[in-house]
Symmetry: C3
Subunit: 356 residues, 3 copies
């Protein structure tokens, strides 16, 4: 893998940090504290990494000012207020990007499609009638844009993505490999013992700066659209059913599923493998811990959880036996009865005392 390299002063400038050390020091990689070598830059994301930093061979560290005096063996620093953010900025400087523009000769593009001259269309891409691809958008090999799909500017769509159902995708959107956007929603009417398919007529609308991981399924709406608002970020293997709406800047980790017609607020954070029922609402600023099970609307911002946690299996089996008894044990009454019995005993004892 080829490496990019920069002078230290270029990197300090990029993150608007204060440079301490040798401005022309050559940095050829961004590394973890543990694996950094003397030409790498690394960063300290809080106190708990200090010891690791003291043992690091990194040539440069991005730090907040208070760490400077604690690292006498390091001679080059970039001092910033938020090293983690500065690190994120520098990852873009060291990322190896292809600078492809143009259309590979094996791409099949319908004459009615409008593809920007500054877009890149990879090998074996298929773009059908009335599609639109905006400026500087990269569409990797084998991806399919079915009839009427529109993709905005400066997007990255990786290989084997299927865009269908007349999906409309904003600007600065990233969609990773093998994801399906606009597939048919799971809508069937039960009638006389069989399932009657509801053809899905809605679409998918994806805002700007949305990020979707690999192997996700985001279905088109039944009548109205499925909507991901601006700034939403989604991990891998996530299911978004028809007519779901996800509010701005909400983050959804891998393997979470959201059932049909549910409306999610802004700035929510859902950890991995959560399951969210259909036809409910979730307020803004709701955090769900991993594997949460949401069956009702959540009206209050806050953090919510589900599950039993982990048990040694023998202990788990015993616990489940008790859990099965729980429905028949009036727990709150037990405490009341104990209190009542205590009172009775005290009364008996005082009676006995009086009669002594």
């Amino acid at each position: 893998m080829n490496q990019k390299q920069y002078q230290l002063q270029q990197l300090a400038h990029l993150v608007q940090g204060e440079l301490i050390g040798e401005p022309k020091f050559i940095v050829n990689g961004l590394s973890s504290l543990e694996l950094a070598n003397e030409n790498n830059i690394s960063f300290i994301n809080g106190d708990k990494y200090l010891e690791q930093a003291q043992n690091s061979k990194a040539g440069v560290l991005i730090i907040t000012s208070e760490f400077k005096d604690k690292l006498p063996h390091i001679s080059n620093f970039i001092i910033v207020q938020n090293p983690y953010l500065a690190f994120a900025t520098l990852t873009h400087a060291f990322e190896l990007k292809k600078n492809n523009v143009g259309i590979e000769d094996t791409a099949k593009i319908h004459p009615s499609a409008i593809v920007s001259d500054t877009a890149y269309i990879g090998h074996y891409v298929v773009i059908e009638e009335n599609c639109v691809v905006g400026d500087a958008t990269v569409i990797e090999s084998h991806t399919k844009l079915d009839v009427g799909v529109e993709v905005g500017k400066n997007c990255f769509i990786d290989s084997h993505v299927t865009l269908t159902g007349f999906s409309k995708i904003g600007n600065d959107v990233r969609i990773h490999a093998n994801t399906v956007i606009g597939g048919e929603g799971f809508g069937f009417v039960p009638y006389q013992g069989t399932w009657h398919r509801i053809a899905q007529l809605g679409s998918v609308h994806i805002g700007n700066r949305v990020r979707i991981g690999s192997n996700c399924s985001i279905d088109r709406g039944a009548l109205d659209d499925t909507i991901l608002h601006d700034g939403v970020i989604i991990d891998n293997l996530v299911q978004i059913a028809h007519n779901v709406q996800v509010g701005e800047n909400t983050a959804i980790a891998a393997k979470t599923g959201i059932a049909g017609s549910t409306i999610i607020g802004k700035n929510c954070i859902f950890a991995g493998a959560c399951g969210i029922a259909g036809h409910i609402k979730i307020a803004d600023n709701v955090t769900l811990t991993g594997m949460s099970m949401v069956t009702k609307s959540i009206f209050e911002a806050g953090t919510y959880s589900s599950g039993t946690g982990l048990f040694e299996s023998g202990q788990w089996r015993r616990t489940i036996v008790r859990l099965r008894q729980l429905a028949d044990v009036p727990l709150t009454k037990v405490i009341k009865r104990l209190d009542h019995i205590q009172t009775q005993i005290e009364s008996i004892e005082s009676t006995l005392k009086m009669r002594k």
Copy 2:
């Protein structure tokens, strides 16, 4: 997106409903009550939608007869017994379908394969030795039919689907994008500390009118076949392991997984993200609510559930602490002891009373 349009009398005829209003009224779309405009048709699926209907701008409503007098502002109706079913029927009238027939010039089809003259084979499809594709079947771009795969009549197979393992697929089957049918089952023999692969020799047999969503994995059997019977409907991101059998008209929602050799009955409904162990049986007419965990056979029809539900996280942590104590608390004995104590106290009290 182009729209289809119909005269009201055409739509009434399609759903075999009673037309009230202007037979030649032009309908150019099927919409939700909320978003319908004056040339759209919408429907009322039960009492709870009446208020929305009273505020709807829809030009036509599909209703049961009792709603007619409650909607004086609407002049066009189709009266039917089951508006939801009529709506499902009309979605097919308004769906924008491609009417492609023929084989795109970039499709690679082995000379031994038999492809119907009325089928459509999209760009970059690969069809290998001894495959069969039936009449009126549509195979979208990039899909792969590995050696010996057979697909029946009137099927729809979306892009990037992988059909392998000698899978046999019936008529009127729909398989959505990026799904894998017939991949190798997960079979390994542990021996001397490593895993020895069992080559999978069974296949996948899919009946008629089966529907499979996007990003599903349905593995071929080890020796015998994995079987989905007629009328089964499956949502996205579902795992069906080797040698599973799913009975007629069973519905499986997104993210559910079924482990190897399990046999599922007819007319079951599994909500999203259920996990079903291997080598068990599930009776006909079993409903599982979302995220159910099935570790043993279910012999009785009925509805079953799992999970703790959702808690505010602080409350959840306290609950889990108690749950961990539960194994050591003899719950049913607590109630017996309380009853026994109560009896003792009553006896003491009567003794005291007598001696007064």
Copy 3:
């Protein structure tokens, strides 16, 4: 489907077993006891299959020696110590394999890529700059090797696989259809209300004899690599986040997800749909039962479980009501209070007795 056929003596030789019966008996298939015909070979994997074997029409059985006298209706046997392992060996003899070598004319291979003369590259495969494909490796149709990806010898990569992020893949690796290796990890810095993307600079390193199912997502590391060590086997729809490390010979069943930077030991077995939090460690030889929820490091080998098990739904709802009360019920104190009350009552009773 064409069948392979062997003389019985060939099969006995393959599994190094003792042949009893007719050495030249023709075997044309490997079957389950139930479906075997008189020219098939089947096997007995323990006592519980004896009755099925007694009713089987199989022409040959693979058995341990003690079963021989219990099957008078069978005249041909292969006697081995481990029939299940012998069966696994024979599946490879009966597997229908393509023996393709060479590069299909529609494959797009960058001139800088190095592809072995003994490899097979299917239709519409795209192989980009600086890729390497080793001897006897099969890459099925439509698969994508993005810039810098290296695949070792004797690998099988099925259709629609996306290999990206400079992934390095060892020898004897099998990757099933539509899986994504090396996709971008889910790394974002929250800053002023939006998510700032961390470009992922690490890669994926996959050892020898690793097996990965269909529709999996294995992300590249943020700075360091995501690592699957030798002999790891992974089922379908599995999520492996950035910087996860999985130890040798660990097996991971379908729909399990492992969050970022978690380190898994050797010889672990994770059943289906487990969720494992990020930044934790799991010891060697840990077994997780299905749907386990792991939020903390596991330091001890053993078997662990989570979840409530399955309830009839009415019973489940009542149980959940009690579970919600549990946090406010001091369970362990209940027992202590009962014991204390019992003592008090006994003391009262003896007082009463004395005063009789």
